[in-house]
């Protein structure tokens, strides 16, 4: 190989090296600035609140919960009972119960979804996490007590409904 040809190859390699270096610096700056400029707006708690209200309106539209309408299968698929598709509710976990008196116990208990969201939520609340991890925290909303009528085998009773909704992240 002639000296001239070697020099051309050497220059080519040198150019590629510089280009790679410049690209690396540019992408490093871009990556860092991307982290600072990106932001995530968390609306999961609001989604949980809206879902809780929708379920409440579905179960007791006029303030009366008719137990005869909710069979055993529906109790474990309460979102499906309320007309939601599985694809829409895959991020949700819902659980609730209606209690007339302490002696009588729960008149009805219902749920749907992945209960693992409860301990994920607990984990986030008990541990300090950075901003990047915090964006994965599930949202939640709890209705402690709502008074309503429950129709149980034709008997109208006053009951307290408790409802909890958890929403997983959308990523």
């Amino acid at each position: 190989m002639s000296k001239g040809k070697r020099a051309v190859i050497g220059e080519g390699i040198s150019t590629i090296y510089r280009l790679v270096l410049v690209s690396f610096v540019a992408f490093a700056v871009f990556g860092l600035s991307g982290i600072f400029y990106s932001t995530n707006i968390n609306v999961r708690d609001i989604e949980a609140e809206i879902m809780a209200e929708n379920i409440l309106n579905c179960l007791a539209p006029e303030g009366v919960l008719d137990l005869s309408l909710i069979n055993e299968e529906n109790k474990n698929n309460i979102l499906k009972y309320c007309g939601y598709d599985d694809s829409e509710t895959s991020r949700f976990y819902v659980r609730g119960s209606a209690t007339s008196s302490a002696e009588e116990g729960a008149l009805i208990e219902f749920s749907q979804g992945d209960s693992g969201l409860i301990w994920i939520k607990d984990l986030f609340e008990k541990t300090k996490t950075g901003k990047d991890i915090k964006k994965y925290e599930p949202g939640s909303f709890k209705i402690e007590s709502v008074l309503m009528y429950v129709l149980d085998s034709g008997n109208k009773k006053v009951a307290e409904l408790e409802l909890e909704v958890f929403v997983n992240n959308e990523f």
Binding site: E11, V22, F30, S33, V43, E47, I50, G83, Y84, E88
Partner: protein, 109 residues
């Protein structure tokens, strides 16, 4: 001399690409898009049949080119930035979006 010019051109191209990518982050189109998608999704979540709301195409935040509802998600294209991920909504009802001149009408049926 030629080598220096080629180096300058290549470096210039790399930085031009870098600046274009950075400017799209800095002008916050992504944040505006995220806000609009989430606002629309929450409005759909809370809506009941026969309700409708509209989104103006020209706002002080930019120009909205497209509002689309597909596969249980809301997609908004703003200032030329297409939406790739969208934001999921939940509704027991049918959700329709109509292009109505200077606004997009979102109808719940």
């Amino acid at each position: 001399m030629n080598k220096t010019i080629i180096n300058l051109i290549l470096t210039g191209i790399v930085f031009a690409v870098f600046m274009i990518a950075l400017s799209s982050s800095m002008n916050s189109r992504g944040v505006k898009q995220q806000v609009l998608e989430k606002e629309i999704a929450l409005l759909v979540d809370a809506s009941v049949p026969e309700m409708e709301f509209w989104v103006e195409k020209k706002t002080f935040n930019g120009v909205i080119q497209k509002v689309e509802v597909r596969d249980g998600k809301v997609f908004v294209a703003i200032d030329g930035l297409p939406s790739l991920k969208g934001y999921p909504y939940f509704s027991r009802y049918n959700v329709l979006v109509e292009d109505d001149g200077d606004k997009f009408k979102v109808k719940i049926r």
